[in-house]
Amino acid sequence: MSEPTLGLERAGLQDLYRSLCLTRAAEERLELLQKQGHVTGGLYRSLGQEAGAVGAAYALRRRADGTGDMLCHTIRAAGALFLFGGELIDYFRQYMAKGTSPTRGREANVHWFDFEKGFVGPVSPLGTMIEIMAGMTLSFRVRGEDRIGIVFYGDGASSTGAWHEGLNFAAVQRCPMILIVENNQWAFSTPTSKNTRVSSFTEKGPGYGIGAEAVDGTDVLAVFDAVRRAALQVRSGGGTHMIELNYFRRKGHAQHDPQDYVDPAVIRAWEKKDPLDLYRSRLLRNEWASEDELVAIEEETFEECRVAAEAAIAEPYPEGAEAVSGVYTDVHTPHPWTRSSSPDPTLA
């Protein structure tokens, strides 16, 4: 007998797999690009966490006209970004710091924005994004818009003052917002036990007067189900809600981190809970997809990433002198006088 499909059709069930494969293929492509010297700055894998981002984003209203739900993703939630319409080629452009990237080379990796499509990239101090999403969803509530927001952050960001202040504000103002804590058990080299005394982040919810639920973050359908239920509640005026995704960061904080502070046996154990492997066998077992269909998805996503990355490689970096533009909407930032053709400080 088949498992329940949570209202998803065959196409939807396969969509989820497609997003999982796309996330992993994109990151594996980045590893290759990094070895080739194309990636500017750090590269952060979400290996083992892909299902959290994909399941959650799939449960939301994704529209391209500024009327859908709002997402704030993280570096390990690229699957959500793609589901909200973030273009694969922009992802590679961002990682390569190209002048054609959405931030024109000003900002890194997934730190980009499209308010029409409904996603706001994070800044590096991630706790801040709780405050930002609180304000975004406050605007939905005061204007009576039928929209909600979802904000991802790690177990580490849960320790910041900004997290507390943003969450407290949202709870008091009954902002229609879902917090998703990606508990991958590590904040760089700091284990969760050194970030908090509670055994589950869901214990923090009641302290703010909001509901909280933990879910297996390697199970894409379980995450989809939890977020869908939370979204229903939040959308109908239930205020702010929290969901904890439990899984494990199977790679270092970034590629430069060999993660030698983690017991290899633990990593090997989590390899058996790989979200793509788990879901793939489930799709076959329940006959939600055939082997041929899955192979096609795997090959297509691989090829999409290859093509997008190749295209991005060919694109130019920004001109250095572009650095002066856009600090303000209306105030001109001067070029250094020493860079002018006839240097003279009185003419700067």
């Binding site: 959405p102 931030t103 024109r104 000003r106 900002e107 730190h111 980009w112 924005f113 308010f115 706001v120 990239g121 800044v123 590096s124 101090p125 801040t128 709780i130 405050e131 930002i132 999403m133 609180a134 304000g135 975004m136 969803t137 406050l138 605007s139 939905f140 005061v142 003052g161 900004a162 507390h164 202040e165 943003g166 407290n168 504000f169 949202a170 008091v172 103002q173 856009g326 600090v327 303000y328 909407t329 209306d330 105030v331 930032t333 400080p345 009185t346 700067a348």
Partner: protein, 341 residues
């Protein structure tokens, strides 16, 4: 039925003089009427009307979706304002005393100030509140905060010295698409000498433009905020007692700095004194001095001097605070030194 405009916000309509505080209230009120995307957030601004009553009766008039009493968490609600600004609202955040802006330093400098540059779009928000000493407020109710933000590209910083400017500058700040730190000297809020009848029209004072408060030919004093009035007082004494003509330039906006106005005045008088109530090291006098050195070195006939508060936390006791703050007599002595140079 719409609620009626509170009586105390109709003074300009009735052609009565207003204080700087009343001018600020009128600016907020009129902007909220003009543009329904403008809304207020801050501690005790609703039911109580704000610690200084700047938003008295606003809650009754505009309702709690536009006048939001917040938890005591400046970082949290300033960050929420930034999120709302992304969604097309124009938040005006009140920091109850600007000394308390420090918890919001992270979100202001890392998030808000960088937003446009990062491609996340403009941040049309105003963060306003009372600053300045002289009220025996002690270390945490007296600070000037401009230089904590002056070094952050992407922000604008405004610091009015009169009722007329306060109203026009605040309106311009609210309409500006960039984030603005708006400092209101609490010693000027209700100063009787600053009461004036404002134009009964929707005027703004553009950001980034200094004002010549008093023309002169021998010495330039560049200043802002409460020090404008002490500088003018000293300038008048120089005129009557010494026969020296002092020009006083009120910056009004610190960022962007009106370099042209400063340089033009220095080229006329050839001597420059900078006066600010903020502490000495890292004060704006340093930035002004280097700009004049770059642009008008040949015109200088004397050292660039400054009169400032001392490098200390703001002390509580009157005798200490009076010693801490720059006084008219300090300005006078510095101006006389320059005149004789």
């Amino acid at each position: 039925m719409d609620p009626e405009t509170p009586e105390h916000l109709l003074k300009t309509k009735r052609r009565e003089p207003v204080t700087m505080l009343e001018a600020i209230s009128e600016a907020l009120f009129e902007e909220m009427i003009r543009d329904e995307s403008v809304f207020l957030m801050g501690e005790d601004i609703g039911v109580y009307g704000g610690a200084f009553k700047v938003t008295r009766d606003f809650l009754t008039f505009f309702g709690e979706n536009r006048v939001i009493d917040t938890p005591i968490a400046e970082g949290g609600f300033t960050g929420a304002a930034a999120g709302a600004a992304h969604m097309g609202l124009r938040p005006v955040v009140e920091i109850q005393f600007m000394d308390f802006i420090s918890p919001a330093y992270d979100v202001i400098t890392n998030y808000i100030a960088t937003s446009n540059y990062r491609g996340a779009g403009p941040q049309p928000l105003v963060i306003r509140g009372p600053v300045g000493g002289g009220n025996r407020g002690g270390p945490f109710h007296s600070q000037n905060v401009e230089m904590a933000f002056f070094h952050t590209p992407g922000l604008k910083i405004v610091y009015p010295s009169t009722a007329r400017d306060a109203k026009g500058l605040l309106k311009a700040s609210i309409r500006d698409d960039n984030p603005v730190i708006f400092e209101e000297h609490k010693g000027l809020y209700r100063a009787p000498s600053l009461r004036e009848v404002l134009p009964d029209e929707d005027y703004i004072v553009p950001l980034g433009e200094a004002r010549i408060v008093r023309e002169g030919t021998d010495i330039t004093i560049v200043t802002y905020g409460a020090m404008v009035h002490k500088s003018v007082e000293a300038a008048e004494m120089m005129e009557t007692e010494d026969g020296v003509s002092v020009e006083v330039v009120d910056l009004r906006t610190l960022l962007p700095l009106d370099e042209d106005a400063i340089v033009e005045s220095v080229k006329k008088t050839n001597k420059l004194l900078v006066v600010h109530e903020d502490t000495r090291t890292g004060g704006i006098a340093g930035e002004i001095a280097i700009r004049v050195s770059e642009k008008a070195f040949e015109w200088l006939d004397g050292p660039i001097l400054r009169v400032t508060a001392i490098d200390a936390p703001v002390p509580y006791s009157g005798s200490l605070e009076d010693y801490f703050l720059p006084q008219t007599d300090d300005v006078l002595k510095a101006a006389r030194y320059l005149a004789a140079y």
